[in-house]
Amino acid sequence: MSASRKSGFGAAHFILGLSIAILVIVVAVPVLLIFLNAFWANGKFNLTDVVAVLSEQETYQALLNSVFIASGTTIGSTIVGTFFAWLVTRTDLPFKKFMRGMFLVPFMLPSFIGALAWKMLLSPRAGYINRFFMDTFGLEEPVFNIYSYLGIMAVEVMYLFPFVFIQVCGALERMDPTLEESARISGAGLFTITRKITIPLVLPSILSGSLLIMLYSMAHFGTVAVLGIENGIYNIPTLIYERIHESAGSFASIRTGTVLASVLVVSAAFIIWLQGKVLGRGRYQIIAGKSFRPVELKLRALRWPLLIFCLAYIGFTIVLPTVVIFLVGGLKTYGLPFTPENLSLDNYKFILFEYQITKDAIFNSVTLGLSAAFITMFAGVMISYVIVKMKVRGKGILEFLGMLPFSVPGSVIALGVILAWSGKYGVNLYNTVWIILVAYIARYMAFSLKANSAALEQVHDSLMEAARACGATMWQTLRDIVLPLVRPGMLAAFFLIFLPSLRELTVSIMLYAPTTRTVGVAIYTLNEDGETVVSAALAGVALVLIITGQTVINRVSARYQRG
């Protein structure tokens, strides 16, 4: 008996050690190296250099731009997301269920592909929409110039608002409607009820969704790269990219990058802290798991106009850009009108069967996605197990480390892995596919931890205790009790990682080498090289891949839930 206890003890520490090692190597070391390189020069602490970098006009401007664009995007997405969430949960809008599904579609569309499409539609002189209005009404000026702060924010809002939408939908549905009813019975008007009851109750959800968007947008590369650079609008990730590109990876540029990345990490940490505060305060018991049926607001005469508005919004932000991408992908060369003789499937054939770069890119993205998802899924389940279920000393370190992946933006991870894995410390992965894999694991660990710990929390300790009481070893308990029960969580983690990594750009753009382009990188660089039609065709193929993947997953998970 005592012998088996001892071995269990050893195994627990082994798992704990392994978990800590994984997080330290994959996440902590790269982040630490960024701070070290930013604040440590020639062997001593150096703040003047940091101040010098930050007060340079370009870097300072990029910082301001990151904050400005992220704020605008956050405010816009919050308004749009909350409004649509309210519409599909608390009103009698026709086809609510269908519309709710439609508002989740923007999630699938990578925002940099959206940006490419909007560039084709709204670039000041040649955008199809601008051209149309200028030609039809003889306007001198374009209707809207997408190469602007407003343009960048608008595009980001279009593809990021679901973050708020999902959170608010959930909160509104779980909210106890009797609170609103009692207010009404006491004579409060709709406006008062909304202001005093509904909004305070869903505010925590709104804020947590908004902060997620803020976090994402500050460190987002694609949209700003596609729409901003031409007008000299840089944010932190695009500036880091250009600096490193310009000097073919020289140390001075990487150093500037580390300083900028440190700013990103600090702001991200601040945002996460703020989110914790807001959520901690906002855990009202009133939003409980009970499924009350909230009263629906009668839209009356506005029912159909609002439905048409919603459909128009989807058509304008999803259907139109997608159609443009596919059409441009069919053109012989960019600049030709969309007439049957100019359109063909040749580009699609070319990228799928002939063009080495795009064939490599598709292969790389699929294998990278599968491997990253596979590895991260297993590492995630192990680490979550320690955090959620095990009682060992030293768990606190792991809890802290487990928080790290949530607060480190993609561009920071990319820079960190360059510092850690380019041969300075014995291992050189730079310019190989492995460095992208390591970065993906670091970037997506958060998703895996979240899904797996949620699944593990539902497994009651008594099940394991029963198994141990019956004489099962720790490994047996894990294999026969825990793993089968958390399998849905693992599966969720797998796909939560696999799908986003198919369209990843922010990390891989900093890490790719000539043969290790990912789909995102290939689309972006082909566009930069002026292969507009080829890059549009590849974007089209990527959209098909992503949408098919998502549909399959929805089917599978629906079947899982039904049992």
Binding site: S123, R125, A248, S371, N431, P514, E528, E531
Partner: protein, 331 residues
């Protein structure tokens, strides 16, 4: 079912490993030439030497240099031959002793045109890329004839130059134009609201779409799109911009013999004819230019071109790029 899924995933992980390992034994060329050009050169080379398995990696010059630097760091440069349009990179690599000296017989041919007056066999021009003004034939009715035309109203807010920080040829052309006309040239361009684009290919596509009325365009990029029907034309003002694309063998290359054969082939009349057919200027005068491209004979183009001291230009890159961006974006 689950086991099969896991096997599949393991297979994927394994394949990823293979993909990273795959390396050819015979000849590896790193080049920034576009697929259409390098593809034809490879086909011709393989036809001549069927026993050599040639592989190439095509990417921007900056990416290739970063890869070479990383490979050098880890002990072995995988590339045997480097062929890009970034002349400064070649001077730098020569200085660092990373290039093999090889004087190809082809360079002694009287028909071979050498733009480098300090040629010593470390690298040789394999193409004399030109940059002209590509304009949209729908929006510009009178083709531009001189560089000064770009200061006139039809090009207001509608002339584009690729970002010299991202594109080597764009930097070269900025340096050449500054050498010939002084910095005032860019002040006047800025006054007419000229724009900075991204890559050197993208400005051409933006010209085709009408977003720009005209742009500074690399010859074969524009000619490729013209051949596909884009509403574009390419013209050359009297002072020509020539950006040579040197080819070099990496020091102690694994496949030295094949590398030398490749350089010989690339400088031969046969390969240079392929280059001319792609719509760019060859480095030999005994190749006749297809008339549809409107390019002069290589020797004449070289005579008309703006001359520059490359090492000097290389030293000024950072400050010139910054000044250029600041001027055009009015900071």
């Amino acid at each position: 079912m689950r086991n099969r899924l896991i096997t599949l995933m393991l297979a994927a992980v394994f394949m990823l490993g293979l993909a990273a390992e795959a390396a050819s034994q015979s000849l590896i060329v790193y080049t920034s030439m576009k697929e259409s050009l390098i593809g034809r050169i490879r086909d011709g080379f393989i036809k001549k030497y069927p026993d050599i398995k040639m592989d190439y990696q095509s990417a921007g010059a900056g990416k290739l240099m970063a890869k070479i630097a990383a490979e050098h760091e880890s002990g072995k440069i995988l590339a045997d031959v480097l062929w890009t349009s970034e002349v400064p990179d070649f001077y730098k690599m020569k200085e660092e002793g990373k290039l093999e000296k090889y004087v190809s017989q082809a360079t002694k041919d009287p028909n071979y045109l050498n733009p480098f007056n300090d040629y010593d066999g470390h690298f040789a021009a394999a193409r004399l890329g030109t940059l002209g003004i590509a304009y949209n034939t729908k929006s510009i009715k009178n083709p531009p004839r001189a560089w000064d035309d770009l200061f006139t109203p039809p090009y207001k807010n509608a002339f584009g130059i690729a970002n010299p920080a991202l594109s080597g040829t764009a930097y070269m052309s900025v340096a050449l134009l500054e050498k010939q006309f002084g910095w005032g040239f860019f002040d006047k361009l800025a006054a007419n609201k000229a724009r900075i684009g991204k890559g050197s290919g993208q400005v051409v596509d933006d010209t085709a779409s009408g977003e720009l009325a005209a742009s500074l365009a690399v010859d074969y990029i524009a000619n490729d799109k013209i051949a596909k029907g884009a509403p574009l034309a390419l013209v050359y003002p009297p002072e020509m911009l020539i950006a040579p694309s040197p080819v070099a063998i990496i020091k102690n290359a694994t496949n030295m013999e094949s590398a030398k054969k490749f350089v010989d082939y690339l400088l031969s009349k046969e390969a240079q004819t392929l280059i001319a057919e792609e719509g760019t200027l060859p480095a030999r005068d005994d190749v006749s230019m297809p008339s549809k491209y409107g390019l002069p004979q290589p020797s004449e183009a070289l005579k008309r071109s703006i001359k520059i001291n490359y090492p000097e230009m290389m030293a000024k890159k950072e400050s010139t790029v910054k000044k250029f961006v600041d001027t055009l974006q009015k900071k």
